[in-house]
Structure formats: structure tokens, C-alpha cells
């Protein structure tokens, strides 16, 4: 075999591209200086040797190619391109023809806050804050409406922005938010110190993994304010580089980051999506879907195209939907049509970001589902789709259900749909709450005798006194006595539940709260302090029994709590309850599958 000193690069590239079997353009043996009867193996060897040698020698011999410098211009499609209405064209980032930043009218901003997509709601909240700073220029009534909305909004998806804005409010809501802010700062500082001890080897306990659920949710709700060291530590857990956190806890952590917006999380989430499988991947996709970052869309697309597992594909489809890419919609629709029990909940959740009014008929079928978690998710999805045609179906369901959580979800959905109709310029459906649903039965008149009332009050008062003096057992005995004297009186039971909850005796708090709920559910659900204490008791007790390995009981506790109207409970507690319920539910499904 003889070698030509200078092979023609154009010919080499042609052979590499088209193959040496294709001799239409030139004979590779002749070009490469091989013998006419040389085997393909020899020709191939000579071809790659010549091409590689030439190619490597050429590096750096020419000035910069403008093609190599050009800005890569491929961006994900704009969000909501398919919806030509005002809300569909409303840009959250200021790039479209109508942007949230340009809206000055406070009622319109408030409507976007109720009915917009997650990005639109975030942008609307920021805009509302800006408008409130221009207070003299806007009418007092609008200021009051805005302040009230900010104080009462219970949207966990925009919890971070909401918490920040609330600290600027005057009065009690502002004070409460600033107290919460201080609590977060203390928690963040303690966690940072614990992380330092962990990596120094002074502690073998990973500090975020062992936090109580609501504290972890509170800490992670405000990821943008976390110090770089804490964020890097969270990334290490996500990537599995901490050396001690089990896989289930990594899944839990990712689920807690579902509403995080911090771009610093993106590299770790991308790494998980590239390398992990199953639940870990699904949770990472949900978290990445909510982060507005150019790295998110290509990663999700690439993984979606090569994943074959239904659980992964549904989560990836939903995450892509959050970035305005609806390529997974047919698959999610198909899953809902098949009504496979294992995938309904995930598919409905994905439909929140993928669905349009064409899908509302498909989703509305699940509002009557026997599983309350599925029914509530269906209502939430309908609230996001916001098709006015489902108003009747939702009103009917409101009238027939006795589950407070479902009724609360329907109330929120009806408000969101009304707001969306307003923004679309459609006739706004006025919802007459006095006609919707069964009214709560008026409390029956007291039939207690006068001595029972007097002695009951005496016992109750003594119980309060003992509580003040720190004698919990004596106080509980007095409360029990008061409850015995007056069978329909809820106050002693609440006192008992609160005393146990404050003492972190959650197993004892539960029966007291349950008895109180039986007597007067609305009173507890409407009182933010009571509902918070009750929800936290159930959550912490569920965590305790879960640690003991009794997952079924934990799931029952969390599920029981999720049937209540928790709108007045803190967002972090609600979020953590739902997250824990999802995790335990999936564990149970896995157990069933493995048993089968």
C-alpha cells in the first residue's frame, strides 16, 4: 500500500459522509493511495487516519469562523401561543405584544392573579407590588382590594413571591408575614450551620432530611434567598452526592422543590433528568418545569423523546407544558381516556399545564370520582383550564358533596373560572353562593341544664388556669370534665387539642381534634389558628408513624386531613400534606405492584 502525501480534504469528507462503498464521485482507493484490490478494512483504516491527521493539524490555523460565533437562536416556543385571547397572549417576561409589566389597572392584575398561568401569576404579583408602591396614584378602593387579595391569597405555587410581598403590608397581615420572615431567617441560619457541621464531619445527620415537614417546606419555599452554600448542599442531595440520604428522601426533597424558581437548582435537576429513572426523574421534571430557564426546555425535550416509562413521560409532558410545549398532550389525553387508576392523578396534574378548553369535557368526568384526591385534582385542573362550560357541573358537584376539601377546591375553581372569563371579555357568570350547595345546618339550641352550664364553665376556666400554670395533665382533666358535662360543647375539646399540640403530643391531640370536628367542623376550618394546629398535629403524627415504618397509618392520617377545608392553614403545611400524601400513595401502589 502506498500513501499519497496530500489527500484532498473535500474528497475525504465526501467519503466519510457518503461511505467508501459509494464510488460515484471518486474512487476512495485511488484518492487514499490504496491498492486497487485493497480490502474495505484497509481503505477504512486509511480514511480515518488521513482524515484525523489532517483535521487535528488544521485546528487553530485559521482565524475565527463567524459561524462558530453566532448566537444560538433556538428558544422554546412562547408560552400559550395557541390561545389567541388576552390571557393567552399575555406575556409574563415582557417579550410579547402584551405584557403583565404593562398592566396598570389593579382589578385586571388581580384577575390575572386568580386566573393566569403560574408564570403570569408570578409576574402579576410582582406588578401588583410595584403598583402598591405608587399608592398615591391609584384609588384607595383598588389599594384595599389589592391588600386584601395579597393577605388572603392561598396559592402555594407562588408562595415565595407572596411571602415577600406580604412583609410590606401594613397591619396584622404584614406583622404576621414579618414574623414568618424572621422564623425563616432563623431556620436558614441554623440549617447553614448544621450543613457546615455535616461536611466538617462533626455530625453524621443530614440536616435538611431530618427537618419536620412543614419546616422543610418553609425553608425550601424561599430558595432564592438561601445562601449559596445551602443551595449547593441541596444540589448535592438532589444529585446523590451527599453519601447518606436515601433515595426516597431525595424524591421527597425534589417534590418539596416543585414550586421553587431558583435557577441555581437547574444544573442539579438537569443532571437528575439525564441520569435518573422513575419517580426521581418525574419529580425532577416537575421541579424543572416551573423554573424559567433556557436549559430546562432542551433537557426535558431530549428526555421525553427517549423515555418509554409512562410515569416519566406524563411528568415530562406536564413539565414541557409549563414551558408552552404541548407535545405530550395526546399521550396524557389517552391516559385519561383509558382511566388507568395508577396514572389518573399524574395525568390530571399534567393536564393543568397542557389542557385547553377542548380537554375540559374529558377532565370534568373525574370530578365525580370516588377517590377524593382525584376529584380534587380534577377540580384544580379545571380551574387552570378555566372553561366556562364546566360551571354547571362544578356547581352540581358542590351541592352533592359533603367533603370540605372538595367544596373548597370547587369554590376556588369557580372564582378562577369567573376571573378568566372576565379577562377574556366574556360574560362573567355571577355565582350566587346562597343558591349553590347545601347550606350548613344551623347549630341546634343548647339543651344543657343550668348546673351543667355553670359547672362546665367552671371546669373549662380551671382548665385554662392550669394551662397557664403549665399543668397540662390537670388542665386536660378539667377540659374532659367540662366536655362530659356539656356533650355538644366544642371549646374544651379545642382547648385539649391545642394543649397537646403545643406540647408536641400529637398522638393525644388527634382524638381531641377529631371530637371537636365532629361537633363543629366549620368553626375549626374557619379559624386559621385552629386549622393550623390541627393540620400540623396530623402532619407531625403522620411523620412519627412513618418513621416507625407504619406507612399505611401515615397515609390514612394525611388523607384524612386532606379531606378538610385547609384553605386557612399555612401554605407550607398544605403543601407538605399533599406532598406526603402523594409519596405515600405511590409507595402503596409500588407495594401493590410488587406484591402482584
Amino acid at each position: 500500500m502506498t500513501h499519497e502525501p496530500e489527500p484532498n480534504w473535500i474528497a475525504l469528507e465526501h467519503f466519510l459522509r457518503e461511505g467508501i462503498a459509494n464510488t460515484q464521485y471518486a474512487d476512495p482507493r485511488e484518492e487514499l493511495g490504496c491498492a486497487p484490490d485493497a480490502e474495505d478494512r484497509e481503505v477504512a483504516r486509511e480514511l480515518v487516519r488521513s482524515a484525523a491527521t489532517y483535521d487535528i493539524e488544521e485546528i487553530g490555523t485559521e482565524s475565527l469562523n463567524p459561524e462558530a460565533m453566532r448566537h444560538p437562536s433556538v428558544r422554546p416556543p412562547p408560552e400559550g401561543a395557541a390561545d389567541p385571547s388576552f390571557l393567552g397572549r399575555l406575556s409574563a417576561s415582557g417579550t410579547g405584544d402584551i405584557s403583565v409589566e404593562q398592566i396598570d389597572d389593579v382589578p385586571t392584575i388581580l384577575a390575572v392573579l386568580r386566573a393566569g398561568s403560574r408564570k403570569q401569576r408570578r409576574a402579576a404579583l410582582v406588578r401588583l407590588g410595584e403598583r402598591l408602591h405608587e399608592r398615591p396614584a391609584i384609588p384607595g378602593e383598588a389599594v384595599r382590594a389589592a391588600t386584601q387579595t395579597i393577605a388572603e391569597l392561598r396559592d402555594v405555587e407562588i408562595g415565595y413571591e407572596l411571602a415577600r410581598l406580604r412583609t410590606e403590608l401594613p397591619g396584622a397581615p404584614g406583622r404576621k408575614a414579618r414574623n414568618e420572615d424572621e422564623r425563616w431567617k432563623r431556620l436558614a441560619a441554623e440549617t447553614k450551620e448544621a450543613i457546615r457541621r455535616f461536611w466538617d464531619g462533626q455530625s453524621s445527620v443530614e440536616p435538611i432530611h431530618v427537618l419536620p415537614g412543614d419546616d422543610r417546606a418553609l425553608l425550601l419555599m424561599r430558595t432564592p434567598d438561601l445562601a449559596p452554600m445551602v443551595l449547593n448542599h441541596i444540589n448535592a442531595i438532589i444529585e446523590g452526592n451527599d453519601g447518606c440520604v436515601p433515595r426516597e428522601s431525595r424524591v421527597g426533597l425534589l417534590a418539596s422543590l416543585q414550586h421553587a424558581t431558583d435557577r441555581r437548582l437547574v444544573p442539579a435537576l438537569v443532571a437528575v433528568i439525564e441520569s435518573a429513572r422513575g419517580e426521581l426523574l418525574a419529580e425532577a421534571a416537575r421541579a424543572l418545569g416551573g423554573i424559567d430557564d433556557p436549559r430546562a426546555h432542551p433537557t426535558l425535550v431530549e428526555r421525553f423523546e427517549r423515555s418509554i416509562v409512562s410515569e416519566e413521560r406524563v411528568a415530562l409532558a406536564g413539565a414541557l407544558g409549563m414551558h408552552g410545549d404541548c407535545r405530550g398532550l395526546p399521550e396524557v389525553r389517552s391516559l385519561l381516556q383509558q382511566e388507568q387508576p395508577s396514572s389518573i392523578l399524574d395525568a390530571l396534574e399534567a393536564m393543568e399545564s397542557l389542557g385547553s378548553s377542548e380537554n375540559s369535557e374529558l377532565v370534568v368526568r373525574f370530578v365525580d370520582h370516588a377517590d377524593i384526591a382525584i376529584a380534587v385534582q380534577a377540580v384544580r385542573t379545571l380551574a387552570r383550564i378555566s372553561d366556562g362550560r364546566v360551571l354547571d357541573a362544578l356547581s352540581d358537584r358542590y351541592s352533592t358533596t359533603t367533603v370540605p376539601a372538595l367544596r373548597a377546591a370547587i369554590e376556588d375553581a369557580l372564582s378562577a373560572i369567573a376571573a378568566r372569563m372576565e379577562l377574556r371579555g366574556e360574560e362573567v357568570a355571577e355565582i350566587d353562593w346562597s343558591e349553590v350547595g347545601n347550606k350548613p345546618a344551623p347549630p341546634e339550641g343548647s339543651r344543657d341544664s343550668l348546673p351543667a352550664i355553670v359547672f362546665g364553665w367552671r371546669d373549662y376556666f380551671m382548665g385554662r388556669v392550669w394551662l397557664l400554670l403549665g399543668r397540662v395533665n390537670w388542665a386536660v382533666a378539667r377540659f374532659e370534665s367540662a366536655a362530659r358535662r356539656r356533650a355538644g360543647w366544642v371549646a374544651p375539646l379545642i382547648g385539649m387539642g391545642m394543649a397537646f399540640a403545643r406540647g408536641e403530643q400529637y398522638a393525644l391531640a388527634l382524638p381531641a381534634f377529631r371530637r371537636a370536628i365532629e361537633l363543629d367542623r366549620p368553626r375549626i376550618e374557619r379559624n386559621p389558628i385552629l386549622v393550623r394546629a390541627m393540620a400540623k398535629s396530623f402532619l407531625h403524627r403522620a411523620e412519627q408513624v412513618e418513621r416507625e415504618g407504619r406507612n399505611d397509618i401515615a397515609r390514612g392520617l394525611v388523607g384524612e386531613m386532606l379531606t378538610f377545608d385547609l384553605r386557612r392553614a399555612p401554605g407550607t403545611v398544605r403543601f407538605e400534606l399533599k406532598r406526603k400524601h402523594d409519596v405515600l400513595r405511590k409507595e402503596e401502589e409500588d407495594d401493590v405492584h410488587s406484591a402482584a
Binding site: 475525504l12 469528507e13 467519503f15 466519510l16 459522509r17 457518503e18 461511505g19 467508501i20 462503498a21 459509494n22 474495505d40 478494512r41 481503505v43 477504512a44 483504516r45 480514511l47 480515518v48 487516519r49 482524515a51 484525523a52 483535521d55 487535528i56 485546528i59 487553530g60 490555523t61 485559521e62 482565524s63 475565527l64 469562523n65 463567524p66 459561524e67 462558530a68 460565533m69 453566532r70 448566537h71 444560538p72 428558544r75 450543613i195 457546615r196 461536611w199 449559596p228 452554600m229 449547593n232 448542599h233 448535592a236 444529585e239 452526592n241 451527599d242 453519601g243 435557577r263 437547574v266 444544573p267 443532571a271 441520569s275 430557564d293 433556557p294 436549559r295 426546555h297 432542551p298 427517549r306
Partner: protein, 406 residues
Amino acid sequence: MSTRLREAAIRHLRALGTTTPGGSVRRLTMDIKVDGQIEMVSLSLRDGEVQCVSSDGHNDGRHVVAALEFVAGLTQRDDSLPPGTEESTGWRSLKAPQQSDLADALDELLTAVTRVGIDKARYAPSVDAALECVVEVAAEPTPPGLGRFIGRLRQEVLSGQPRRAARILEGAARLAEALRVETPTDASEQRVRAWLGTRPGSVPEIELLHDRTMIEVAREWLPGSKRASVERRYLIDLTAGAIYREDRPDQAAASLGPCPRQIHVGLAEVEPGPAPQRIRVLQYEVRPEVPAESWSRLYQVARRSFAQLTETYRREVQAYPTLAEPFALIAPYRIELNDGFVAIDSEGHQLALERTERRGSVLAFYDLLNQGLEPAWLAGRLTDFGTNLCISPFAFATRNHDYTRL
């Protein structure tokens, strides 16, 4: 040799009364006392082979032998013979005939790809079959070098880059030649080692590092014989700016910690081979918060001459066309952002961004540049586009040491 520790362990285990059937030992670190001198010995299982090193720098010294005897349980036996020259599992299935089989399989793959051409290779059953054959002939699990070759080849075939594919195939052809050589030379042995691991009976050339401070600036998942086979971390030695890669195959152990992190390396092994050189960190301390002075030091050791960088890159790719994936830390003299990002050194040489790989990271980098961030240094994998050297961005920091991982 005294085995009081083992006896105490047996007693303690009986007292605990439980077992862990699923557990497997990956690494042991122990203090061994020989003639009054105590040394720390680390034994670890990698790719089916045991790697030994002691804190005196020897990997076959008295302390290491004593540790091996302890682990092998030889001291308890009446017929305690010294351990024989057991072959590593990586090579057990790759003796002389199989070596030529692997060489033939690689040649077959090269022929299959060049016969149909890069444009059609992704659809060609002959290429798939040849790739499967390479994997089948190689030892199980697929050696990391060979796995990375498969991953890179698949990637380039999919992206339709004939130049890079040719370079990757050239590296495989050189390996085939090295496997067939009857009298191995240092160069051929080193090549085989880089692809397939240490051959039984041969002594690996390992450089030991002591007491170094390093910063991990970036990490990524890379495809091998399967997608996302290896997590690669890029560590920069603050002493001289040397860049190392720490490869963590899927489900395997490596050093722990977030990215970025500062690690004080008590003991590490560095393998000679393709750039960046592979490091195995054996003893280390992690500091999750990188101090400002370390960031300053990192900036000082960054490469400033792009002409030299190009020359180094060319040399490294020439040596290992398939396995070299040079990584660099650069400190540009200035940056231009007209049509796109261009880093310029003090001599006017330019370095562009690689825009075909890691597209999302490039877009994120542009977003941050447009927000006004000015990178003092940029870390990334070097590659070439046409005849130009490019950098695929992984991380950067401003002069205020604000680090961003991309």
C-alpha cells in the same frame, strides 16, 4: 499477625445479632502497625480489581501486604500461603485470543461505519451489529474507556459530524493495533490501559498526590455504553492549575460533596492517560464553602494564552483522538459580545463558544452576559468547530467571586 480486631468484630457482631445480606464492601481504610510504625492503608474495589495504597506512598509495601492478609483471612489458616497472582476480573475474560477478537470487532466497526458513511450510519443495521459485537467481546462491565468510545461515537453519528467521528474511529483503530502488537511497548501498554484498565501482571503507573487543595468547578453526566454512564467531576489543583477528572460510574462511589466545593486531598492517585488525567481521591476533607482566597488563586492559575491552549489541545487530541476530552479554565483579557460571545487574550487570539453541545447552557450563559455579568474566568470543555478551538461553558465566576454553574 495479630487478629484481635477481627475477633473483637466477631464478638460484637454476635452481640448485635443482626445481618445485612444486601451489603457489599467497596472500600476499606485501616491503620496497620508493622514493627511499631503505623500507616493508613486503603483498599478499594474498582472495576473488579483491588487497588491498594498506604499513606507511606507504597502500594506493595509491608503495610499493604499486612492489610491484604488481614482481609483475605490468611492469618487464620494453617495453610496460609501468600496470595497468588490472581488476574483482575476486567481482564479475566480478555486473554490473548479475546484481545484479538476485540481488535477484530473494532476493525469491523470502523469498516461498517466508513462503508455506509456517517450520514447513514445511524440507520445502518450493520453499524448497530458491529457496536453490539464490540460490547459483547469486551469484558463485563464494559471498561470505562471503551464505554466512553461507544458513547462518543453514537453521539457523533447522531449529530452527523464526520470530522469528529473520524477522529474517534482513529483512536479505536490505534487501540486495535496496540492489542495486536506482539511485543508491547510502553506506548501501546499505556494506550491499552487507558481504554481497558490495567492488564494482569503489569504494574500501573500511578502518580500519588499528597496534601493538595483542589476546587471542583463543574460536573456532568456522560454517555458510555449506556446513556448517562459516568458522572465526571472536574477538579482544579490550586498549586499549579492542573485539571483532573474524577469519574464516577453509575451506582459507584466517589468523593462526596456539592459542586462547587473545595477539597483538601490527603492522598490521591493520578493515572497517566488522556486529558484531563483521571484522579482517584482516597483521603480528603470537603469544604462546601469555597473561600475567597481560593477563588482568587483559581483565577491566578487560569490559562491566559489561547495560542498555547490551542497547541496543548492539539497535542492532547493527537495523543488520544478518542478519549481526550480536554477541559480548560480560561481568564480572557477581554470579551466581545457583538454577534456572539468571543473571548480574546492579550495577544489578540480568540476563543468562541461551542454552540452545538449543551445548547441550554450556552443560552443561559448568554442570558447572564446580557444581564451585565462579566466573567473573570470561564471553565469548560474544549472542542473544535471547523478549524477553530471552542469552549463549551460549564461554569464561570465574576471578579467578585460570584460563581455560576451552567
